[in-house]
């Protein structure tokens, strides 16, 4: 799982890896990441059960909005990219 933009600057961590034995959802994976990092990143990314407006979570480059949302299942070898709301031009 890779972190970008202000999230990366705030965490001071660019990426973490997980070893998965069972099928895991994005929601579970974010909880696992929070535990590993010792900081609750789900607060930064979610409003309850929803992804915050503009927050972007990609599984192999595909936005989970167009997959199965927070229930999207992650498989070994998948690359997860996490971005807080961002814009430019």
């Amino acid at each position: 799982m890779e972190f970008f933009a202000t999230l990366r600057l705030a965490l001071g961590v660019a990426s973490i890896a997980f070893e998965l034995d069972t099928p895991t959802t994005i929601k579970q994976l974010v909880d696992m990441a929070s535990q590993k990092l010792g900081t609750d990143i789900s607060q930064k990314l979610f409003d309850g059960d929803k992804i915050k407006r503009g927050t972007m979570i990609l599984v192999n480059g595909k936005n989970i909005h167009h997959l199965n949302g927070l229930d999207t299942l992650v498989e070994p070898g998948d690359r997860i990219a996490v971005f807080p709301p961002a814009g430019g031009g």
Binding site: F4, A5, T6, R8, L9, K52, R53, G54, T55, M56, L58, N60, G61, K62, N63, H65, H66, A81, F83, P84, P85, A86, G87, G88, G89
Partner: protein, 605 residues
């Protein structure tokens, strides 16, 4: 005069030396708002769209909006509107900084420059004192020297300067107008039009603050400023990382154009991203334009000692991934050079990228490089060297200065130019976002991302997340984004405000500034009017609707790898729907009914 308008325009003829001040009828203001809208109306009314853009018959208009120079958030924007030499379309280039606000403070909504001077001149404006002055001693000088020298000469340290560098003087087809040293009305070659008129610079000092129609204005802008400050994009992401926050986002989403748009994933993005600019310690601080709470500008210092502003996202990409270059030092140096020499960075980088592809394919022979560095993707020396060559039209730079389309065409392969209507595409591969692709194809000033930034909903998820590969509803979205952008450009605000604000917010600010009882619907209609007016200008200029297309690569070559592997742009499905949504004929021409509905009959020639 309603509220924050100056109500006057300044008209200067460089052939005759005439200087006039004219009233602007309120009817035009309400119909075209200001900035891009009002200036496009005057340009269309006053010139024959068929003229040569670099002839004395062309006019160049510097236009502010009703919110320029006020305390409205980002109210420092102005537009440069003229017929563009790169595309042959109407050209309107937007810039921030402080120049636009100062022009308004001098008491003018617009400055219209006509004719052509025999010798180099600059225009001096200090409120009601306006003079055309000799600029022979500045000809050939870069934009930084020119700015400092002019301020020193007129003895006003904080006067604001918009000028051209050697690129504009040498009629480089994508020369920029640079104001406040680091801000560019970058695109469409507006700097070459100044150069063709022998107009080196405009220096302005103003003391008249626009006065809003009611005290309600202060309350309204405080509320909108607060919204911008609290928004995660305009209040946190853009201030901290600038526009370069996008490098990783667009790359991870697989539409980061790499090596002249041959693919959408750049393997060295981590070395050139906005995060890298911070982590490598190149970023000194951020800098805001006039009245801007966002402050996306980057002040940077390189390990080599070079200091300047930038790179922002487009520039970093154009000289970086698009040229296969991952040396952030060289990219930033090329950026500084482009600002000093007065070049549009997107077209400069993308034209060099096109030359690199032609060279690697053996189409551009080595002898044509005239001992310049090899045009190989990844060669950081080349981006700095050819940027200079282009500005001075030296060696191969003379041909490159014509832009990628004319350059590739001269070698018999225009298909390697990544452009629309001869203007180079910016930093989003259209195969990765179908709506954005449609916006590129239909933009009134050629390949451009800031005429309707569909990346916002399709990739960034603002105001809501759309599937970038779906065609559903995209024509409607593109129309709304194009019309709303025209409104923002007309009011004199920055497009970045639209990450946090919506159409109602722009209505609120305009209504409070002018005292008009204006609805959001009327405002959006004005945006549609501006869009159609520009389209009518282009049709009359001889731009065939068949040019509403994209480079063949985007339509026929599937994306080779990354998340969008296999994708092409489905333009043949999108375009007919777009024409229908616009109320145009199936051939892309505004119907009589549409022209009447928008009140544009008087302009139909």
């Amino acid at each position: 005069m309603p509220g924050t308008y100056a109500g006057k325009l300044l008209r200067i003829n460089l052939s005759t030396g005439d200087i006039k001040v004219e009233e602007i009828p309120e009817e035009y203001l309400r119909k075209y708002i200001g900035g891009r809208g009002l200036a496009s109306y005057y340009l269309y009314k006053e010139i024959d769209p068929k003229i040569d853009p670099l002839s004395p018959e062309n006019k160049i208009i510097f236009a502010t909006g009703p919110l320029s120079g006020t305390a409205a958030p980002t109210g420092g924007r102005y537009m440069v509107v003229t017929k563009g030499p790169l595309t042959g379309t109407i050209a309107s280039s937007n810039s921030g900084g402080f120049f636009g606000a100062e022009l308004k403070h001098a008491g003018y909504d617009m400055l219209i420059v006509e004719g052509k001077s025999e010798k180099p001149v600059y225009i001096y404006i200090n409120d009601d004192t306006v003079e055309i002055r000799d600029a022979s001693h500045l000809w050939g000088k870069d934009t930084h020297y020119t700015t400092d020298k002019l301020r020193e000469e007129v003895g006003i340290k904080n006067a604001k300067v918009a000028c051209i560098g050697p690129a504009g003087e040498n009629l480089v087809k994508f020369a920029a107008v640079i104001n406040d040293k680091h801000r560019a009305a970058g695109r469409t070659g507006v700097g070459a039009v100044m150069g063709s008129k022998k107009l080196k610079a405009i220096i302005v000092k103003g003391s008249k603050r626009p006065k809003a129609a009611s005290d309600e204005f202060l309350h309204v802008i405080r509320e909108k400023t607060d919204t911008l400050r609290k928004d995660p994009i305009t209040g946190e992401g853009l201030p901290k990382l600038g526009t370069k926050v996008l490098d990783n986002i667009i790359n991870q989403n697989g539409l980061y154009p790499t090596r002249n748009f041959q693919t959408g994933v750049f393997e060295k993005t981590h070395e050139v991203s906005g995060e890298a600019l911070v982590e490598k310690g190149y970023l000194v601080k951020n800098r805001a334009c006039y009245a801007c709470p966002i402050a996306c500008g980057r002040v940077t210092k390189l390990p080599t000692g070079l200091e300047g502003e930038g790179p922002e996202y487009e520039t970093g990409w154009a000289f970086g991934a698009n040229c296969g270059v991952s040396d952030l030092n060289a990219i930033t140096e090329a950026n500084f050079l482009a600002n000093e020499l007065g070049l549009d960075t997107i077209s400069t980088g993308t034209t060099i990228a096109c030359a690199m592809e032609l060279y690697e394919r053996g189409i551009l022979p080595k002898e044509d490089l005239q001992k310049g560095p090899e045009l190989l993707f990844g060669n950081s020396e080349a981006i700095v060297y050819y940027t200079k060559q282009i500005a001075y039209r030296e060696g191969l730079g003379d041909k490159l200065a014509e832009g990628s389309y004319r350059f590739a065409e001269s070698y018999g392969h225009p298909e390697y130019s990544m452009s629309v209507k001869k203007q180079e595409l910016p930093a989003y591969d259209p195969r990765g976002a179908q709506g954005h692709a449609l916006e590129y194809a239909t933009s009134n000033r050629g390949g451009c991302h800031v005429r309707g930034y569909m990346i916002s909903p399709e990739i960034l998820g603002v105001p809501e997340k759309l599937d970038p590969q779906s065609l559903e509803g995209k024509a409607e979205w593109v129309k709304i984004f194009q019309d709303l952008t025209a409104v923002i450009d007309a009011e004199g605000l920055c497009l970045f405000t639209s990450f946090a604000l919506g159409a109602d917010d722009y209505r609120d600010m305009l209504a409070a500034a002018t005292g008009w009882d204006i609805t959001t619907e009327e405002l959006m209609k004005a945006g549609e009017r501006i869009w159609n007016l520009e389209r009518m200008f282009n049709l009359e200029a001889g731009i065939d609707p068949k040019e509403d297309t994209l480079p063949k690569r985007m339509l026929e070559e599937p994306m080779p790898d990354g998340p969008n592997k296999g994708a092409v742009v489905k333009l043949s499905e999108l375009l007919p729907k777009y024409y229908e949504v616009r109320g145009w004929t199936k051939d892309g021409i505004p119907t009589e009914e549409k022209i009447k509905e928008l009140g544009l009959e008087e302009l139909k020639k």
